[in-house]
Subunit: 288 residues, 4 copies
């Protein structure tokens, strides 16, 4: 059969390789998760099991794709970051974003019953959309991460107060919304404490900070590296011997992928973990 | 907290709306499915359960996204087509491709145990990547569909012969490959028949034709419409009243989504189902 | 010298081939032409010499690029159209738009002294920017052309009335603007006639219709072709023998490129000149 | 007239804003300049007048677009660089590339008679195409500039030897090509010296180094700035007061735009002129 007659249609495919030497962020979002959260009666303002499920799915994505250097999640959203030297799938945008979205979805469905054994899934099922953004400099990437974590804080403080007003204060949604209109952070903190005896600072870190996932190596003394500058100076291509690359791959595969609830806005997090921005595996911590 | 300081990073997001008035094809592919098929011992050359699973997942994608007009699947691949007037997600490429990939993956994992009750999934899980291609004319779209169905035929004839040589003929992979090198279709047909008594024409349609999914309305007399021309003539925007749109939406929701194993290369399939290319729902068949 | 060390920077170039089987429109615009028109005291509301200069430059662009099928100009703007089967520069967007902009600019400067012998150019010189838009169907392309010609009409009627109020009516700019605020076409026509004795219909066609440039062949009887449909049906690739292509190229080169002031909104223009949409050269008219 | 009916065609325009925080390089090239150079009998291997014409046109482009930080030219090619913080035309690719191509072409035609008073231009006229490439880091940008200057050296050494073999050595083109096949730089140098008494080092700098154009301020002591790092650290947006921006604009407008033939591969050029990479105007040198 003459397939060639129709094969010309391949010419309509557009190349979509991302600009080299830029940090690739893939952000995924739950589709229609407000409705979905209601269907499965997620706890308010945060459902710990739902977050743990997101985190385990994201951790498994990180584990399957060693090219990822860090991931950060809040609510039904997760950002995955590829190092700027990453050449996975020749940096093709569609491949990168769909692979992450699909792998994440796959684990989310697969793990659901572990976290919600009492609530079997039924159609329509949860799903996620995704998008890619490229950042040219370390400072842009750090600002992206800070933006997400600041959003986490803002949203969580709002939601914590909002649901306290409803669940403990007996307000309905409109009343709670009205009560919070125009309030600043300090006023929400005050309101939580004075009305409900809640010290926001004592809220669980996972709610206040969101979740950050990375490969774990031995921490280094801050100040001993200048990783941001080194990363920015990196041109293309970083030539490495096959042996060197294999070695690094093995090291990376051995590294434990960890979930933590840490401040990623300040320098400390990054300074102590130079491997994240350098893309070079660190030293595997000795087992105790 | 001053979120605005970091919010500038949103400016790095690139718009990705697809060219209006073009047919949008989203093709998804199983990632590493050769290995995956081995892990779960899929039957050769075709595993009926695996195909049925693909088909049910695709059918549910079609059902959830009424903007889809047709889908076509072979092996671990599925193509989903949006009508050229489709405005879903403002035609944003990332949204469209990730939504389909994620919804499909979701159902694939969810339905797995229905088709493979004896083979529980374990990590690494199956996943799919996807890409978008736009086609300007009906003739381009039809050629795309023909290309995929021709591929189905070519691959299935090859695989059927290849696995007959191995499973019934006792060859190993290399010998079977060697035996088929340079053979044309008629020779493979002949070989199947003379050596193994297999009449390729009698093979199941699902293997020979692949699976096509569409909404089912009353068939029309071929020749009574000129849908291709009408579709090509469609400019933008097709203005319709809200009432009209609502009506169509309801009709579409009522329509049964069916899976069939039909020739989609010849005109007949399209002529009898003008609603596929027109994008207008047809007449709901009366229940018998 | 080791050039290879730096050659990696070529990888940052992005491919920019336009979607196949779409009509390519390159529209160029004078940069800062309001100021430029004042500097050289262009006549109001239309400067015939300036338009003739635009037209001759555009005609020479058409002559140098036989892949262009039609061009249409108003004021300091020109649209050039490549046939949807055009493969010039592998359809690379940058190449196409910069070649047209540069060739046009080149002739504009070169021919300036022919049209304005009394007004030598001095820096800053006139220049043009350009952009590319792709249209999937004949109906979209025709609508684009209609849009530009309708704009021509709307602007020219406004400008004719505006400048009559100023030059003959003694108003200043603000007064004229005020006088026209909210008026519809018929009111402007009436105003022109009653106040200044101007019958707008008798205004020169070049001002009312803009300028259309195309290759001239023998006109055909409208209705004898169905070019729009044929053009839409065209898939890719249109395979032709080298001999055939050479023949067509020669015919095209022989064809006279003409400037006319015609209605391109109605079907007549296109029906009589099927070669424009078919991309196939017509019959060279016999010299009388 | 109902223009709105057709205005929908504007929706087919695609946004093309370049990734923020990247260095924008616009490279233009003469179209068919081998043929063009023959038509006007350019001198071989270098025509000083032709290069001076290129340089003056480029200098005027730099002068008209103060957002440009540097330009570099060899033969019939010129690269123009916008600072990574540049917001001109909202960073729209088409606007940027066509404006530069058109302005350059405009001056090239306009100035032609100054450099070639004895050779009036005739159609087909010279024209240029252009393309845009974005570079994320200073190191990428420097490597791009080094790549072009290395190319200049390689080509000029080759051409100088090639044309010596022909013009002084009496060879024809094929013989000269053959003689140079596989030779390295040192061999070409040796050949030039031993056969023709030409010391390549004494060749004019404009031929060996190409031409670099920049705004001239007081040189600074190398080592007193760390501009590359500062530039890489720049995020977006660099907020400045209107007054500050106006001040800088004035300073920039006052600065002399100079053409020089310098090494731009080594650090020295950049270290002494920190304003190029910082984008901040330097100190205007005192007139003597």
């Amino acid at each position: 059969m003459a397939n060639s007659k129709w094969e010309y249609v391949k010419q309509f495919e557009r190349p979509d390789q991302l600009l080299p030497n830029t940090w690739i962020v893939v952000r995924i979002d739950g589709r229609g998760f407000t409705k979905f959260a209601n269907k499965y009666a997620f706890e308010k303002p945060n459902d710990k099991r739902a977050l743990d499920l997101m985190n385990e799915a994201a951790k498994l994505v990180m584990t399957e794709l060693p090219e990822l250097i860090i991931a950060y999640g809040i609510s039904d959203e997760y950002s995955f970051v590829f190092h700027k030297t990453c050449k996975l799938f020749e940096r093709r945008e569609s491949k990168l974003v769909t692979t992450i979205v699909s792998t994440f979805t796959s684990y989310y469905i697969f793990l659901w019953s572990k976290y919600f054994p009492d609530k079997p899934l039924s159609p329509p099922l949860p799903s996620f959309d995704g998008r890619v953004v490229c950042y040219p400099s370390v400072s842009n990437l750090r600002d992206y991460m800070s933006w997400r974590q600041a959003d986490c804080h803002i949203n969580n403080l709002y939601n914590t107060t909002f649901w306290a007003l409803i669940l403990q204060g007996g307000m309905n949604n409109q009343q709670a919304e009205q009560a919070l209109l125009g309030t600043v952070s300090s006023e929400k903190n005050e309101l939580l404490f004075s009305k409900f005896g809640i010290n926001y600072n004592n809220e669980p870190e996972i709610y206040k900070k969101g979740s950050v996932i990375f490969r774990d190596y031995e921490l280094v003394e801050p100040g001993s590296h200048n990783v941001a500058e080194e990363a920015d100076n990196l041109g293309e291509p970083v030539e490495q011997s096959k042996t060197q690359l294999e070695k690094e791959k093995k090291k990376r595969a051995k590294a434990k992928v960890v979930i933590a609830y840490l401040d990623i806005i300040k320098d400390e997090f990054w300074d102590k973990r130079p491997w994240i921005l350098s893309g070079k595996p660190g030293r595997i911590p000795k087992e105790v």
